[in-house]
């Protein structure tokens, strides 16, 4: 029974991490640049939820569209300020500019909200469902459902719509896409908006059960980076699987061994993957597609 409960917690955590990694990999594909502000965007999404809660005293699920819209706007701003002016410079310029944006977000959040940990409202309720000996927090179930819905919707947009085809074309070969009449710059802006919205959703989902502080982003960007590396650099399904794998270690392995050992095992696994399969778990699919 305890194992089942841990499984639910692990999947909920992995689902939220998957949204973080997804936003990260979308921007990576579209721009070939690493957005190091992704973790701080997650933090910003969580704090937006905290700030909006008193203004909209309704369940978090009502706040979600508000947070998605505001974070998409923040993503556009990020692209305009930290990516577009540097797009023709070496990739390291964008690394640095996104790191700078992350620090600005962190310190801005510390000034606006203070250093205290805060909790966003739950998506539906704070209750715990009891099934036999199993205690299932409603928020965990809601995280899984909402994250699955958002990931599914994103897959549908990318796979079945004209916008998605243009976004994918931009990600795969910007020059060819431009030659075919795709507005590449607009597509990059849309990608930043979607990536930041994913981060915002993850922030709102995580900030109720796991709280949020202005410095929370640093740890999350590391996890997104690991998820994308494990899954295959640039692979969308790989990012989701990588995120679930991290949660498996954090919740599953640590329940058998200990958290520090589980963390060590995660990094050992990452090293093993890099040695034995440098392209990551889903790397071949990416190569074929390219």
């Amino acid at each position: 029974m305890a194992a089942l409960q841990l499984l639910v917690n692990g999947v909920a955590l992995g689902a939220a991490y998957a949204l973080v990694a997804l936003g990260f990999v979308l921007v990576l594909n579209a721009t070939a640049a690493v957005n190091f502000a992704q973790g701080d965007l997650v933090m910003a999404g969580g704090l937006l939820g905290v700030a909006a809660a008193p203004l909209i005293p309704l369940p978090g699920i009502v706040l979600l569209p508000v947070v998605l819209a505001l974070m998409a706007a923040l993503g556009l701003l990020l692209a305009v300020v930290a990516y577009l002016p540097l797009r023709n410079r070496p990739p390291v310029s964008v690394f640095i500019s996104t790191i700078a944006v992350g620090i600005i977000l962190q310190n801005g959040a510390a000034i606006l909200f203070g250093p205290e940990p805060r909790a966003a409202p739950p998506l539906f309720g704070d209750d715990t469902l009891r099934l036999g000996g199993l205690a299932l927090p409603e928020q965990s179930l809601a995280i899984i459902a909402v994250a699955a819905l958002l990931i599914g919707a994103q897959q549908w947009v990318f796979g079945r719509t004209q916008l998605g085809r243009r976004l994918r074309a931009t990600a795969q070969d910007p020059e060819m896409a431009r030659a075919c009449g795709v507005p590449v710059t607009a597509m990059i802006l849309v990608t930043f908006a979607i990536g930041a919205a994913c981060a915002g959703a993850a922030g709102l989902l995580l900030a109720n059960r796991y709280f949020v502080t202005p410095t929370a982003g640093g740890d999350l960007i590391l996890k997104a980076y690991i998820a994308v590396t494990v899954g295959g650099w640039g692979s969308v399904p790989g990012a989701v699987v990588g995120a679930l794998l991290i949660a498996l270690f954090e919740v599953g392995v640590s329940s058998v061994l200990s958290y520090p050992v589980a963390l060590g095992a995660l990094y050992a696994t990452l090293l093993a993957i890099l040695v034995l399969r440098p392209q990551g778990l889903f790397g071949e699919a990416v190569r074929r597609r390219g």
């Binding site: 203070g114 250093p115 940990p117 704070d126 205690a135 740890d219 640590s254 329940s255 958290y259």
Partner: protein
């Protein structure tokens, strides 16, 4: 002519010197950003509130500098502060690594450092310029263990601690305190502060068959574990570390999730206890719009003792150091007196939540609990 010129120069130079003699500077060098920003902000607020009580005839100047979390930034801030006027004493970072880096420079500059850092080693360097106004882990963890064993009558504690320096130090002192009481924990495990889900460690701790959960975690992880314990239906008593007493930690939880939870701390200003304490809490709320914690109160008491020394005639860093070394001071949290190494605080309290509010009640006070535990 040359003599007259020299006299004129001397007089002109003497004017600012005389003016400066009545102005003492008390720089506040604390971590306002980074992982210790919550506690550092409390420390700053306590120091700033105390420094508003300017002694008659003295102009008190104070500058607040964010030291972040790097030792280099703290040393640079101290060097800069020392070069800007007559410094009486410094409200210095509560981050142990920053204190250790600043100590040699403070000795060289002959500046008293007044801190609430809990790191034991800062007062074990033989440096006469450091004064700690917060009980060290030897005091608080002794009170923690004694409450568990002597008051609750529990002998099978499960200890969950943080893997940071703060957590390791607390765990070491808890081990020693439990050993002195003839108790061996049935479970001990460290948790990284970045761990999002604490159900795994909670499940393992419960599987060990404890009769009490003993926590020594930072603010967020404490709240996270208590919430997961409540949702898992855990009914064991829980005695947490000092992070639990912080109002910002309790704010993350529903009062019902706090039922039966106790915590060790140096003091709990929001719990009241005296008219002076209430006045401090009211002033703090008015000035900063938030609730004070023990770190704020410790730094407030420390800087108030410094200002009392100034009122009594201490006009130089060395005179202030001598006063802090020799005098006893009745602060709001406790009576402070140096043990010869700069440890000024020797009391700890246990506070408990009754499940109806987020304000804890004082359950037990320990004055120098280490002596009684031996």
């Amino acid at each position: 002519m040359r003599r007259a010129l020299s006299l004129l120069i001397g007089l002109l130079a003497g004017v600012p010197i005389a003016a400066r003699a009545d102005t003492l500077s008390f720089p506040v060098l604390v971590p306002l950003t980074g992982f210790l920003s919550l506690e550092g902000t409390s420390q700053r607020n306590g120091a700033v509130l105390a420094l508003k009580q300017t002694p008659a005839g003295i102009t008190v100047a104070s500058e607040v500098v964010d030291t972040g979390t790097s030792p280099e930034a703290a040393v640079t801030a101290l060097e800069r502060a020392a070069g800007s006027g007559t410094v009486g004493a410094v409200a210095a970072s509560m981050l142990g690594t920053q204190m250790l880096a600043m100590l040699p420079l403070a000795q060289e500059l002959k500046l008293p450092l007044v801190t609430v850092s809990g790191t034991a080693s800062i007062t074990e360097q033989g440096n006469p310029w450091v004064f700690r106004f917060f009980p060290g882990d030897a005091v608080t963890k002794s009170a923690h263990a004694r409450y568990v064993v002597e008051e609750l009558g529990k002998r099978r504690p499960a200890v969950i601690y943080q893997t940071t320096a703060y957590g390791q130090s607390g765990k070491t002192h808890l081990d020693a305190a439990f050993k002195a009481l003839g108790v061996t924990p049935v479970f001990e495990e460290g948790v990284d502060p970045a761990a999002k889900d604490l159900l795994p460690v909670l499940t393992k701790a419960l599987a060990a068959g404890p009769d009490v959960l003993v926590l020594h975690l930072h603010s967020g992880p404490t709240a996270l574990l208590l919430r997961q314990a409540a949702s898992s239906g855990v009914t064991l008593p829980i005695v947490a570390g000092s992070a639990m007493h912080q109002p910002s930690t309790a704010a993350l939880l529903e009062p019902s999730e706090l039922k039966g939870v106790c915590a060790e701390t140096a003091a709990s200003p929001v719990s009241g206890g005296s008219a002076e304490m209430q006045a401090f809490t009211d002033s703090y709320r008015a000035a900063f719009g938030k609730e004070p914690d023990a770190f704020a109160l410790g730094q407030y008491d420390g800087m108030t003792m410094v200002l009392e020394a100034v009122k009594a005639g201490a006009r130089s860093p060395d005179a202030i150091r001598k006063a802090l070394s020799a005098e006893a001071f009745q602060g709001l949290a406790m009576t402070y007196k140096s043990d010869g190494k700069g440890n000024m605080a020797h009391s700890a309290v246990i506070v408990c939540y009754d499940g109806t509010s987020r304000v804890p009640k004082l359950a037990k006070r320990y004055d120098d609990p280490t002596l009684a535990a031996q």
